[in-house]
Amino acid sequence: MRKAVLTGKHFWYGNIAIAEGAIVAGCRFFAGYPITPASEIAEHISRRFPEIGGTFVQFEDELASIAAMLGASWAGAKSMTSTSGPGFSLMQENIGLGVMMEVPIVIVNVQRGAPSTGLPTLTAQGDVMQTKWGSHGSYEIIALSPDSPQEAFNLTIRCFNLAEKYRVPVILLTSETVGHSAGKVVVPPKDKIELVQRKKPKVPPEDYLPYKPDEDLIPPMACAGEGYAFTTTGLTHDEKGYPDTTAEAHEKLVRRLNDKIRRHLKDIVDVEEENMEDADIAVVSYGQVSRPARKAVGMAREDGIKAGSIKLITIWPFAEHVIHRWAKQVEYFVVPELNYGQIYLEVKREAAGEAKSLLIPRMGGKLITPTEIYREIKKVSEK
């Protein structure tokens, strides 16, 4: 195991697939703190990085880990950490710094039962809203959710590409079950994998304004030691990066930080639709629940019920245009998730007035079976 890209077929746990996906994406800085059910990612990276020349540090806590990733990214390295609920909570303040300073980093949250220490070894999807709103202030962030080891591998690479492109922290929102189930993972040849690198300044240092955006609202990024002598801060700042704590400067900055994501919804948002053409009932799911959800849709179809599946690959920004469009056709959105109603709230909001929404909540680490979802589909079809 010496090469960075292990082209070929493998049988990997989801967590290992994430570690290998990061390596393929060019991640060469990892900072983290052990936590169940995410530790295998750090453990695997700690073996692999010395082979390929990356920096792995197990820090004293998650506060340090995320701060170090921001510093490493400013030095030009693609950086990642992996954690679960308690650690993700500790990282929130510096996720905000990453948003404000516009730093590409990737955070893997392998979700477990919560609140608090909750169920360390059991699966959940309870951190969906925290991922969007966990740090203080109005901001947009990107989060993707995989349903299998292969998808975990693919989406890890996409997380890095999106972080680099939009200069924003990107979260891979996975779960214990995906992390700890093994499956086939195909790693393509190196030259078949598309990688994105952050935009660099095209002007000489004396003309460089670190927070002057291009047309796409994203400013090119100089890194430490490249001779640009830039300054950056978590305070509200102007295009020079200088603190400017006026109302005008703040409004302008916060709008741009949000709009650089909102304006590119079509590029960022990925969904997979199945059997939707004539559907009256749409099952909206994400992550591990997508698998029983798709099965349940198949069962309903066999029964002659016009059900379809919308699988959200991008969790944030929310696929509002997608739900909005289907709300005109379907009568019901059925939303199974491993929490007490989170994405359901988004679906309901977008469907408002056009279609009804039903939540299938599940907590406690038990899975939702295809049959359970199928039963709910059947019930609403009879209404």
Binding site: E51, G71, G225, Y228
Partner: protein, 284 residues
């Protein structure tokens, strides 16, 4: 020559001007504050050692002192409260050729960031950390810090502080720092020399700079005039290079012991050990 040209000529004559973002002056610091002289000593040390501007990185946390990174014409990072050290570690490990400095406040480095400080010492990461210790939370209006001397008043210890304070050089020494010194912001020359000496070493180097804060600290502790704290430093300081750091605790009625206390040579840095490990693994 018109008046403006003369003025500009004069400005350019100032020896540290090339290091500053002059367009950002005036700075936010109060008259009598020790942060300015500390930065002056640091800049002079950079010149003395001859480190080129593009190699210098300045990382700070939050507080009055934390604002410094925005005034220097180098790559500057004003991070979050307490997290300057781990931020700097990430940066330095990726670009080991850079001269990475953390300059921050006592609350930032020893209260909210205290855990990172001791672990960075233990790992011997290659950083120069300078603490402007003004015995108080300056920026937020003078609350109790882990460095406030016993008995002193702050806005959150209005009857006098009942908590023992940290002896930060001893903490650094015991945690494994390779260079430990303490000066005050009125000992600008000695401070400059000490910083320069530290800059020429590798590993975790720590310098505490006792720093007047007349506004948030002095006012409540019978030292209200801009020069009162400086006068206290002048009268109470004893220089004792090589002093045992366990004996340099700051106590109000006792002498302030200053000096270059610790210099450990040959201790490998985290980066060096990481590279060695890499060689070993690759050679397998």
């Amino acid at each position: 020559m018109n008046e403006q040209t003369i003025a500009e000529d004069k400005l350019e004559l100032h020896p540290i001007d090339k290091w500053l973002r002059s367009e950002r002056m005036p700075h936010i610091w109060c008259p009598g504050c020790g942060i300015g002289p500390t930065l002056y000593a640091w800049i002079r040390a950079l010149d003395r050692v001859g480190i080129p501007k593009e190699k210098v990185v300045y990382v700070s946390g939050i507080g009055c002192c934390g604002r410094g990174s925005g005034y220097l014409d180098v790559d500057g990072f004003h991070t979050t409260h307490g997290r300057a050290i781990p931020f700097a570690i990430g940066l330095k490990l990726v670009k080991p050729e850079l001269c990475v400095n953390v300059i921050s406040g006592d609350g930032d480095l020893f209260s909210i960031g205290g855990n990172h400080f001791i672990h960075a010492c233990r790992r011997n990461v290659d950083l120069l950390v300078i603490c402007t210790n003004n015995f108080i939370y300056g920026m937020t209006g003078g609350q109790l810090a882990p460095t406030t001397p016993l008995g002193d008043r702050s806005t959150t210890s209005p009857y006098g502080n009942i908590e023992p304070s940290f002896n930060t050089p001893h903490l650094a020494d015991a945690s494994g720092a390779v260079y430990v010194a303490r000066w005050t912001s009125i000992h600008v020359r000695r401070l400059e020399k000490s910083i320069a000496e530290a800059m020429e070493m590798k590993g975790f180097r720590y310098i505490e700079v006792l720093s007047p804060c007349p506004v948030s600290y002095g006012r409540r502790n019978k030292l209200p005039e801009p020069d009162d704290i400086a006068e206290w430093f002048r009268q109470s300081s004893i220089i004792r290079n090589g002093a045992n750091t366990s004996e340099v605790q700051i106590e109000k009625e006792k002498p302030l012991i200053l000096g270059n206390f610790v210099k450990r040579v040959g201790k490998p840095t985290f980066y060096e050990l990481m590279k060695k490990l890499e060689e070993k693994v690759r050679g397998r």
